[in-house]
């Protein structure tokens, strides 16, 4: 017998999240459009508008993470490792974040060790992880974020660095796990949990992906390191 036919609260959860995502999508689209027509000098509420866009994006990203984790839990997320050009990946990252970061006076630069580098991973999931890291860094940075990509010890390494105050010590204990709940920083740990879950799905020749947090790096702030085999 078909098994999906009994409605459950969890089913409404998923469909409502979809619906909310649609609304948020419209909202952030419209905000971006308005922001693109104005600049700081000709629009007095420019900063408030930027903050609205930032919060909208954050909400959307959280909902997206929840939905993906929910589907992974049900074994229904269609994980797909495919060949990704890292140059294109970084272009996507820039394209998605440029407008908001420029509006907030933050400079995002990307550095790719080998312009023709390609790697296999689930593009949507990893883009979700890095987007989250960039968003997070944008909260603590003084104005600069650096995303760099290289292959280290046979693993793809994507580093998101900022020039802020860095991670608090308790978050730096070895490999990051889902334990980093810190309500004072407005963090529920969802982003980190999502990142570690998603990276662990990436397997190749006996190795798994992982997440590492450090302080220092090129800009002296927090360093969010994604490793994919």
């Amino acid at each position: 017998m078909p098994i999906d036919d009994q409605p459950k609260v969890s089913a409404f959860f998923a469909s409502s999240v979809h619906d909310m995502k649609n609304s948020l999508g419209m909202l952030s689209g419209l905000l971006e459009k308005v922001l693109a027509r104005h600049s700081e000098s000709d629009f007095s509420d420019y900063h408030d508008l930027t903050a609205m866009l930032y919060e909208t994006r954050r909400l959307n990203s959280d909902l997206m993470h929840l939905l993906t984790l929910y589907k992974l839990d049900l074994q229904r997320y269609p994980f797909q490792s495919q060949s990704v050009q890292l140059a294109e990946f970084l272009d996507d990252l820039q394209a998605q974040n440029d407008r908001l970061l420029v509006a907030r006076g933050i400079e995002l630069s990307c550095r790719l060790a080998d312009a023709s580098l390609e790697w296999h991973f689930d593009e949507d999931l990893v883009l979700g992880v890095i987007n989250h890291a960039v968003n997070n860094a944008s909260n603590y940075t003084q104005g600069r974020i650096l995303v760099s990509v290289d292959v280290v010890d046979g693993m793809l390494e994507i580093r998101v660095e900022d020039d802020g105050g860095g991670y608090p010590p308790f978050m730096l204990t070895g490999e990051a796990g889902p334990s980093g709940v810190d309500f004072t920083r407005g963090s529920t740990g969802l982003g980190l949990f999502f990142a570690t879950t998603v990276l662990a799905l990436h397997k190749n020749k006996g190795r798994s992906g992982c997440l590492q947090l450090e302080n220092g790096g090129h800009l002296g702030g927090g360093v969010f390191i994604v490793k994919i085999p």
Binding site: M1, P2, I3, D4, H18, K21, N22, L24, G25, M26, S28, G29, L30, E32, K33, N60, M64, L67, T68, K71, Q75, R76, Y77, P78, F79, Q80, S81, Q82, S83, Q85, A87, E88, D91, D92, Q94, A95, Q96, D98, R99, A115, S116, E118, H120, D124, K203, N204, K205
Partner: protein, 535 residues
């Protein structure tokens, strides 16, 4: 660096979304990239009328379009009916990744997905990239649409050397093409080479498919189970696993596997129908009925809908003595399917159900109607229609016509043991066991004789006569794989002696027909390869 197309000014676009504000937003985005010609559609119906009358370079399509067709069904229809050219970039906009979108049938996949919310910058990037990629793959696609797989493979090899950034995808295409023409050894070698470098799910699944064609169902099962263990949402792996389990006679397991696939991807009419047939095999009429009904529902707006689910359901309902309801259901088939063979099947099954329920008069009327329809329709050979009609003809005393139909089935499928067993059973059911065996043998002998005539002529090097004879054999037995392959062989002998582009095309067509009837036929694949070498 990344290849991308930035200038959108010459492209014609279609935006399909049921939500007005979303359409406007997407159209505004396209305009901001320089696009000038943008059409809009608010639902599947509007989109069908636009796609069928105009050529688009870009289609932005929301997956959910409200009542009627969804975005995937629209794409399937557009590809099925050749409304969109190989260079058209079709971007699906969805709320989430679905198992179908990622692991579904490649031939019906869109060129890209965008997860909502759509970001203007990201859409521009992805669209530019897809358009650039399409221009690389278009040459291969054009050849594939002309069924020139050899030509497509040659193009693919060329591109693998030139277009490094698409190498991985080109290899995937290449493997699929090799499998489609039965070149299993090179396909296996290619896949094993790919897997040496990296554990890629698509390559493992393709390898499992090759193993099935080579008859290694156990090995295939094992490999697919490993893939599913790691990637429990890989729909294609479940579908292939179910095929292998069915071949191994593990019907109950096959059924469970298909159920898992259907839970991930409930909207495939064919998968639902297969589930129904498997449930019937396991004696579970209740599930079979539910599956057939589901197949009809999800097929309502799909070009991939199948009459088998209607007919399967009619048999179940008829078996419960709800004769009128079964007849009503069968009566809807002509409105749903254009194919004349389906209309004949509907009438024949209607008659069978009347007969089964003791309504001889009505059964007789159905039989008269089927006879009329058969006379009128210039019918291509349809095994199912012939089998069902023959059963009805026996039951209504039309022995001669029934035997003619069954002989035709045998001539077209002289090597299909399962089908021959069903033909024999039809004879036995009609109380004609002894004669039936003779008739089956006679039809098989006739098929062999017809075929041997051409083969013997070829052996005597009377090639023009041999080709003509094989053409007659194909006309008489259009679904007989052995005849088709031998015809291709004889044509190739003639081509070796004297090249003739038209005959070569004909030979390839005949062999491709054979291959579509018997995917992975080794001899057929070899001949196709040789034909390619003649080029």
């Amino acid at each position: 660096m990344a290849d991308t197309i930035q200038d959108f000014s010459s492209f014609r676009s279609l935006v399909i979304d049921d939500f007005g504000a979303m359409r406007t937003m997407l159209a505004d985005m396209l305009k901001s990239y320089g696009a000038r010609s943008i059409d809009m559609a608010a639902n599947g119906r509007e989109a069908v009328s636009q796609l069928s009358t105009r050529q688009y370079d870009i289609v932005l399509c929301d997956f959910n379009l409200g009542p009627g067709k969804n975005g995937q069904q629209l794409l399937e229809e557009a590809k099925f009916r050749n409304w969109i050219s190989p260079t058209c970039a079709w971007m699906m906009i969805t709320a989430e990744q679905t198992p179908d979108s990622v692991h579904g049938a490649v031939e019906y996949q869109p060129d890209g997905y965008l997860i909502k919310p759509v970001n203007a910058g990201l859409l521009h990037q992805r669209l530019g990239r897809v358009l650039a990629r399409k221009s690389v793959f278009a040459d291969i696609d054009v050849k594939l649409r002309r069924k020139d797989v050899r030509g497509a493979l040659a193009k693919c090899d060329e591109k693998i050397k030139q277009e490094k950034q698409y190498a991985s995808e080109l290899l995937r295409w290449k493997a699929q093409m090799l499998v489609s023409i039965g070149d299993f050894e090179p396909a296996r070698a290619l896949l094993e080479e790919v897997l040496k470098g990296r554990d890629l799910a698509w390559a493992r699944v393709a390898l499992a498919e090759v193993m099935q064609y080579e008859g290694d169902y156990h090995g295939s099962c094992q490999l697919l189970k490993q893939v599913i263990d790691e990637l429990p949402a890989h729909v294609r792996a479940y579908d292939l696993l179910a095929v292998a389990q069915e071949k191994l006679g593990q019907f109950e397991q096959a059924r469970k596997t298909l159920e898992s696939a259907a839970r991930l991807s409930p909207n495939s009419p064919v998968r639902q129908k297969n589930m129904g047939e498997l449930a019937l095999r396991c004696g579970d009429t209740e599930t079979a009925e539910a599956s057939f009904r589901k197949s009809m529902t999800v097929g309502q707006h799909s070009v991939l809908k199948t009459p088998d689910s209607y007919i399967g359901l009619a048999h179940i309902i008829g078996g419960r003595h709800q004769t009128e309801e079964a007849a009503r259901l069968l009566g809807t088939l002509p409105q749903v399917f254009e194919d004349a063979a389906v209309h004949i099947r509907a009438k024949a099954v209607e008659g069978l159900i009347y007969q089964q329920n003791g309504m001889a008069e009505q059964a007789e009327q159905s039989a008269v109607a089927v006879s009329e329809m058969m006379k009128k329709a210039a019918l291509h050979h349809d095994t199912k229609a012939s089998m069902e009609t023959a059963a009805l003809f026996f039951q209504t005393g039309r022995k001669e016509a029934a035997v003619a139909l069954l002989s035709d089935v045998v001539r077209n499928n002289p090597d299909d043991q399962a089908l021959l067993a069903r033909v024999s059973k039809t004879y036995s059911d009609a109380g004609l066991h002894e004669e039936g065996m003779k008739w089956v043998k006679a039809a098989r002998d006739e098929a062999t004789a017809l075929m041997n005539e051409g083969v013997l002529l070829a052996r005597d090097r009377k090639l023009p006569e041999a080709v003509a004879s094989m053409r007659r054999a194909v006309a008489a037995m259009p679904a007989n794989v052995r005849v088709l392959v031998n015809c291709g062989h004889v044509m190739m002998l003639s081509l070796e002696q004297r090249d003739d582009p038209q005959l070569r095309r004909e030979a390839v067509e005949v062999l491709m027909t054979a291959l579509s009837l018997a995917p992975g036929d080794k001899r057929c694949a070899k001949l196709l390869a040789q034909l390619g070498a003649l080029n």
